[in-house]
């Protein structure tokens, strides 16, 4: 149940509430805080009698003690192991019985739990979720087998996937000091050592109403949600005080890095690069928005600079793109990537990528590109209103990483305010190779035997 929500790019982390769109009235987002510190966001959507119920904790892998990597994610798994009131399996069984869906996810900055159910089941979901906020019961009988589940998950997702392993290694090389350098799922040798006591310590430190955000999207009114939340979550006492998240920060980057992962299982070589850049939370005003637009112009879709130049004009790549996810507490990365045609070397492809970047650094972007990207980004955000789950996800992720409801609501305006000068300035300032790690994924037929 691990999801690094990076696939949901910040271009879509947004949401819109009618601002800058044709829907003058927009969606009325409600936001309030219970007496025990629990934040609540209600996103009405009355098209169908269903609700999306999400509980977000402001704790992720970057909050783990060094040497205990994987703990945030392991605890996410263990949250399904039952309480004194609700034995293991009952919560999930009720969700299944009513035809609902459920999931859970962990990132560097947050951990979340999700159910989508018929509206009349909302009180039940809240009851279960509030119960396990502080009532989790863990015995070695359930902890040890779950550790094997997590190790198998690591095996499937990471160990047997050269591309994912390269990504892990690139993150580790990008962050010299910040805990974002360690994998959300953890380093395998550390996962193996995690214990019931580790999980309970972490749980008691971070799972408390004053460190959580409830997001309800769907067929529910703010008043109803408030009443239900007070009857369930409102009864959970604060069990810990939460300090601001002060993670070790990065030194000024000053040396370009590369990482090469050779593996016989690689079927498609590729080159990718991460640049260390500010997140929407850590950036100065306008900086993160300029990075979003820059990444979009560089690498979103077939009209983008990278795709158009490498795939169409030069014909040396079968794919190319760029992305930026600003949804993070601390410095994140802007990434570019390209996949070569069979006869093209990674070096040749990288030189072409560098050429595209150099051109934008030198001359900026055109006003047509800027307007087209802005329109597309804002339109995507509006379309996303259609998805109840996405809406809940975006508000939850934003609030869990230090943004406000208003920040999310004003996103289209902020994107619209980006001008050519700020995109060029973002390119000049942040696309500096000293801030970067370049990754090479290479097929190596000799790799297995070399390992000895």
């Amino acid at each position: 149940m691990l999801k690094t929500l990076i696939a949901l790019t910040a271009a879509l982390l947004t949401l819109v509430a009618g601002i800058g769109t044709g829907r003058a009235s927009g969606i009325e987002i409600s936001h309030f805080v219970l007496a025990n510190g629990l934040e609540v966001v209600v996103i009405p959507d009355h098209r169908a009698p269903v609700v999306t119920h999400m509980l977000w904790y402001k704790v992720g892998s970057a909050d783990e003690t060094p040497g205990k990597s994987g703990l945030a994610h392991f605890l996410e798994h263990l949250m399904f192991k039952g309480t004194a009131k609700n034995p293991a399996g009952r919560f999930s069984q009720v969700v299944a019985t009513v035809g609902g869906q459920e999931n859970a996810f962990t990132s560097s900055d947050y951990t979340g739990f999700f159910q989508r159910v018929p509206r009349e089941q909302l009180p039940t979901m809240m009851g279960f979720e509030a119960d396990r906020m502080t009532g989790l019961v863990l015995t070695d009988d359930v902890v040890r087998p779950e550790l094997n589940v997590v190790l198998e998950e690591q095996n499937m997702r990471v160990a047997n996937n050269p591309g994912t392993r390269l990504g892990e290694q690139m993150e580790a090389a990008l962050y010299l000091n910040h805990p974002y350098g360690r994998p959300v799922i953890g380093w395998r040798h550390e996962i193996e050592q995690l214990t019931r006591e580790d999980a309970l310590d972490f749980y008691r430190r971070f799972y408390t109403p004053n460190n959580a955000i409830l997001v309800v999207a769907g067929d529910a009114t703010p008043d109803w949600v408030r009443t239900l939340a007070q009857d369930t979550y409102g009864r959970v006492p604060r069990v810990a005080e939460i300090k601001p998240r002060m993670r070790p920060q990065e030194p000024v980057p000053e040396a370009a890095r590369t990482v090469t992962l050779s593996d016989p299982r690689v079927t498609q070589p590729s080159v990718s690069r991460y640049y260390l850049v500010p997140s929407s939370t850590s950036a100065r005003p306008g900086e993160s928005e300029a990075l979003e637009v820059l990444a979009h112009i560089l690498g979103r879709g077939s009209n983008s600079r990278l795709y158009h130049t490498l795939v169409f004009s030069k014909g040396i790549a079968i794919n190319a793109g760029a992305s930026y996810d600003g949804t993070a507490v601390d410095a994140t990365h802007l990434s570019v990537y390209a996949t070569p045609k069979p006869s093209v070397s990674l070096q040749q492809l990288e030189e072409a990528v560098d050429g595209v970047l150099a051109e934008v650094i030198e001359n900026g972007v055109t006003s047509e590109e800027l307007t087209r990207s802005q329109n597309r980004m804002i339109a995507d955000a509006i379309y996303a209103n259609d998805s109840q789950r996405m809406m809940a996800q975006w508000y939850g992720a934003a609030l869990a990483t230090g943004a406000s409801v208003d920040d999310v609501r004003a996103w289209p305006e902020r994107i619209r305010a980006v001008d050519q000068a700020s995109v060029r300035e973002a390119a000049r300032r942040w696309l500096d190779k000293r801030r970067s790690v370049t990754g090479y994924l290479v097929k190596d037929a000799r790799s297995e035997e070399k390992r000895s």
Copy 2:
């Protein structure tokens, strides 16, 4: 007063006590522990009426809390700021008045204080050193100016030295998880934030007799040292319990990395590589010794493989070598380096280095090379008996990183036991590029303006 003692290679960390040498009687090293947990080592040397007095704490930069890098070294500086009994400056003044020398040093694993004085001053030195073990008094008046001294030291040693900066970046890229990845002197942005409270917390946690080693070398008998130590250090109570040093360990390395540092101040480009390898403490029996011999054959002196091949045979380098420092608690690195002749590219030079390494991995070393290196290493160790300070340093560093007096004493025997098969096995196992970071130091005339 920062010394990363890496220049004193483990080839010299040894010492000998006559074993395997012509001096049948050898030096009688005494080793005992006081009731409060202080370890004492006495190394007799009666050639002159002087003593070397060293106090080693088993704490270094790898024991710092993340986000507080530089704290171990900062505290080393602050240890000169006086106690209730001895105001700032008095200790150093006495050393100077009696014609003595003093110094202090910090590494990843230990912090040490050193004086060399006439023998009759030993009781005084012990009195001062024991007093500041727990009696340090710090006020903001002395802490703040000292922080500027440390920042200026960082400026001189690191910020203005491209080679040192590259070394820092390579360490950071080599260690994905272990705190050895951070500089002993600290990241500048974190040094700037260190406070009096940080220093005192660290001091109270680690400066206690049961976390220290007293080494006295020189014109002193074990009985006299014991009596003096009991009268001074023996009166210092344990102020903290010390847990075993459990640092986050490295995952299995799986991707070759590079780091490029371009700077207009580079006068001499170079290529270097670090391989992650076991330390003498973390290695299995014989492994560290084989690595020492391997590094010696590869790169110690003009007869070594790298120097001979690159400088003499191919004529493409002005210098080349290898080194291995096994004196560490956790995994350390074996390094190789080469400096090109003016017309030679770093790429060409690196390929030649790789050729030399591949040859050793493939075919091992000759018995002549092995015997020559062993003889030279052991002879160097015996010559080192001549230096009182070196002897004290080696025992102190070894004991502070988890070795025993017997380990040090038996070093020549252990080196003598290395055979051709184990050297080849070490080369095959550890000179795997996936375990490595390659660093390029490059002169870049455009660097300043590119930074914007």
